[in-house]
Symmetry: C2
Subunit: 610 residues, 2 copies
């Protein structure tokens, strides 16, 4: 060992001990004939004092930032103590030292507030990782990992490794593929998740499975997506939805306790997907604050024609509302005295291309009980009052109203709600609100192909009382215009998402465990029997040998960590992340490979052919 103690452990009680520390030079401060060095390691920082004698040595061979130092000396009480760090009461009077390795000047400062830009820090990720801000993220990640494993272990879950070189069965996202040298012309795929394997483990009787495991998706990367990401992947047999919800809210509560010391004792709230969409405009509501969406005008499809019903607002001569498919409102508390400048700024905000609305209507619910609106000329005060009532507004609120096509308007009002919540300080970083969103539609309609698409994935079971509907109806959509009336459109999934502060952190379902139902699902998705057998024959086969009822969940580990760490970016919680082009700029990967490698794999490049 190059050290007797770490740089984080010595205290006033250690005074007069002889110790040896090893670490990195954080700062060097010379005061006349003596020099102070802050020595840093993973555990903390300790002040070293180089007296007159050694100071001369340092004069000849100066220490630089990030030099690796081993130093021996006596622990002494400091005259000027530093209350900000645990070692702040002591320093080490150095007797001898060795420079274990030098460092050139780093391209950015190794500090919480570094001067390094994003690209530079990614290129020198091994230096960025030295910064305390990044280190505490990885420590938190490990703490979550450890906490989750302990909880799952105590609940009889077994970590069982599933393979990484599997079969390509693209359904949804693209697979990364791996050419097989031993089987020329054939490819493995990297798993998008261990879904089918964990189901097979249930068929095998393993009962309670988990894994903290890398998964791979070859998607066009949006900001904050990674081609490889980590899941806490779990599955249970002989369970119903309620069992899964209880088990896994227990898991997250345990993580809260272990990692953040938060006692999340209340039952996790539950909301149907339909309520989430109507009241919050999206399927992962942030319920740290209210400001629910009021539906002033809705579009319904009746006999294939869209009708829009809005009794309060229609027919007042205000074309924007009259012509809109949907009109949605939120009541923003305490903002009735917004100035013209402020409401103009909000109008500009919703007009930005990311939101894409034409304009914003507002009603001020004044403290004195009067109302003032940007559409006063169309709606007299009693009408405004009625609208305010419908929007659940009280005196002092500012009602914001958006109108337009249903999907876009709902998305826009949802964004506006989140924005106002943020501006008003309702989205507190240290407040955590969990929510189960449930009862998703099992299918979505794919217009181009006139077929159904699995909203979650093709292994999700319908809710128990919808299984008959699925079995007893033909999934084929005879009349595309009337797809809304097809029985499959009303089937709800036995699925659930866990939402934390407006982010989906996990999702799962009770799975299909009957061959006939699974085949029906594949047919609904437009797969021929032949294709289904080619891709998923092993699973259909397994269902014939006594498959138990089962279900599970997968948590997005990177995302969970980033929310617990109070950050928007998952990259900050990954030791060696890739950039938005899927590149590791530190390694310079991906890169070209040797012709010999291509030849051995019996493949060749085929660039610029499109």
């Amino acid at each position: 060992m190059y050290r007797s103690h770490t740089c984080g452990e010595l205290r006033i009680g250690d005074v007069n001990k002889q110790v040896t520390l090893a670490g990195w030079v954080q700062t060097v401060r010379k005061f006349g004939a003596i020099t102070f060095v802050d020595l840093r390691d993973r555990y903390g920082i300790t002040q070293l004092l180089f007296g007159e004698e050694l100071n001369k040595v340092l004069d000849e061979n100066p220490l630089g930032r990030e030099f690796v130092l081993q130093a021996t000396g006596l622990v002494a009480e400091r005259s000027s103590k530093n209350a900000h760090i645990p070692t702040g009461e002591i320093e080490i009077n150095i007797q001898s030292f060795t420079v274990l390795n030098k460092s050139v000047v780093p391209p950015f400062t190794i500090q919480d507030d570094t001067d390094g830009g994003d690209d530079l820090r990614m290129k020198y990720r091994f230096l960025d990782l030295r910064r305390n801000a990044v280190k505490k993220n990885l420590e938190l990640r490990y703490a979550v990992n450890r906490s989750a494993r302990n909880y799952l272990h105590e609940n009889q879950f077994m970590d069982i490794e599933t393979p990484f070189l599997i079969k390509s069965t693209p359904e949804g996202a693209r697979d990364f593929v791996v050419p097989s040298r031993m089987n020329p012309g054939q490819f493995y795929a990297l798993p998008q998740s261990p879904q089918t394997f964990k189901q097979l483990l249930m068929v095998s009787g393993y009962d309670r499975y988990y894994q903290i495991v890398k998964c791979f998706r070859d998607e066009d990367l949006r900001a904050d997506r990674q081609p490889e990401f980590t899941q806490i992947d779990c599955e249970m047999a002989f369970v119903e939805q309620e069992d899964i919800l209880n088990m896994f809210e227990g898991l997250i509560k345990r993580v809260f306790k272990d990692v953040k010391n938060i006692d999340y004792t209340e039952k996790v709230a539950r909301m149907s997907w339909e309520d989430a969409m109507w009241q919050y405009g999206n399927d992962k509501p942030d319920i740290r604050f209210g400001m629910k969406i009021a539906n002033l005008k809705s579009a319904f499809t009746r006999n294939g024609k869209i009708e829009a019903v809005g009794e309060l607002i229609n027919g007042a001569g205000f074309g924007v509302f009259d012509n809109a498919e949907t009109v949605l409102a939120i009541a923003v508390p305490g903002c009735s005295e917004y100035t013209r400048k402020q409401t103009d700024e909000l109008t500009d905000w919703v007009k930005r291309p990311q939101i894409g609305m034409q304009g914003l209507v507002f009603i001020k619910c004044n403290a004195d009980g009067t109302y003032k609106s940007s559409v006063d000329k169309f709606y007299p005060e009693d009408k405004l009052k009625a609208i305010a009532h419908a929007a659940g507004a009280v005196a002092g609120d500012l009602i914001l109203i958006l109108a337009g096509r249903e999907e876009r308007t709902r998305k826009a009002i949802s964004e506006l709600r989140l924005e106002m919540g943020k501006r008003l300080g309702f989205r507190k970083e240290d407040e955590f609100k969990l929510l189960w969103v449930m009862d998703f539609p099992l299918f979505e309609y794919a217009e181009e192909e006139n077929r159904w698409v699995a909203r979650h994935h093709p292994f999700t079971s319908p809710k128990p009382d919808h299984i008959e509907v699925m079995i007893n109806n033909n999934p084929v959509i005879e009349n595309a215009e009337k797809y809304l009336e097809h029985p499959y459109n009303h089937i709800k999934a036995n699925a659930y998402d866990m939402v934390l502060n407006g982010n989906e952190i996990g999702g799962g379902s009770i799975r299909i465990h009957q061959r006939a139902l699974q085949e029906k699902m594949f047919t609904a998705l437009g797969m021929s029997q032949e294709e289904a057998l080619h891709k998923f024959g092993f699973l259909l086969g397994a269902f014939e040998f006594g498959a138990p009822p089962h279900g599970g969940i997968a948590f997005g580990f990177d995302r969970l960590c980033s929310i617990l760490g109070g950050s928007e970016s998952i990259r900050d919680f990954i030791a060696f992340p890739k950039n938005n082009s899927g590149r590791d700029v530190m390694l310079d990967a991906p890169s070209s490979i040797d012709d010999k490698q291509l030849d051995e794999l019996q493949i060749q490049l085929n660039q610029g052919q499109d």
Copy 2:
């Protein structure tokens, strides 16, 4: 929950409780008007008793093997108890039951002694996994996983995930590569190990890192190799070899204790590579038994010429020994009375192509102090006595002697020693003997390319007092004939392997942490400066920013589990293994992929071009 209890937990104390169990039908035995069913789940087997009433129901809808059953009833004391299983004192008087899923007749029996062949069991791996024999292997694997994680956690190691999509830098084994769609013409590689990343983490100051992680090697698969395998991967900073040896023998001892309840209190033995090769004929000796190899004649290279020194045996007119480069002997205890048939059989054994020797010479050290040999006519009794003395034989031993080219003979006697150890019962499955093998040569000579090859890997440091030799000498081999005299031929690595019962279960080294030394290593391996920078520029760069001294180890997790489980085959300890052609026969992977996928990746097949 479909059950109130598992099939492994009910005891005599539970009598009269109403319980619900769920599991698989192991056996159905009908006795007149009643039926006994053994119900199995992950936790055990419980006997169900179906009385007269329900028996009629069963008559109409018979239960089959592997049906999934949910059954409710009262716990009762059995009249005829089964002492072999923990639930053997009770049975359940069934009141009601539901068949949760049926099963077709499985292709082999779900029993320890199954009637299923290897291929069939691999194809239906999900059924094979139901067998108790396989289940206890996976349970053992999880227990090792858990134990290792606990030990490492308690010793301040942090689990830090390293990336799977990295850069191809083939050195030694072939990489599996992954074409990048977003970067056409470029490829990621799957890691052969997280070696460079864990070293970067040491540079980053993380100090103590571990991961239980999948690694990938595209090698021609020998029996019992897998293209994807799992390592317990560890690294520490500010340590010397001794620190690593202590830390990781602690890890294995902890695993012994937790998993096998073995107190391995003795210090782990240590042996130099040279001693291992001379005394046991290989670098992973099984030290559960002695029978060390005696070197009766050695070849030495002197001035480029091979001389063979064998004072005891040369010149007696026995051409086989006179002309041999090497003559090696083992003294097999208690076998002096072997019959002619037995010694003939041993001679045949060494002549098999796998061993490839020309013959076997033996000397019987009779209990009465006389000697009898197959080469009596060349060696009088006093000579035989002297040879026996040199071989460390005592009365009752049978000395076996092999002669030939050094490498082959050493390998053959090593195999013979292991075979005799096995036959004589010296290689006990429940005895565990650990050994550190150390002081390996840093380099091997690659004749075809006239250059050095790293024996361990290119990041291994020489032993501290050999660093100067490496730095101060030119690695280029001017005279290929005299490579043995090159100073690099004598450099020892600061490396160590952990051997358990004759199997290498782990290996590691103190790493190079100085840029100049690492560059010298790359030069020695025949890499140009440009190539070294292209492949490992990130690591060389990192060494300039204050890299601390560091080292580590990686354990072969699959192998470790198989030895602890008393099996020769790692496949038995992997949930979903691949066969010897790298295929997953259950999934039928690898497989062909769509042209659309190839087009998107901008690659094409190039088969049959060679």
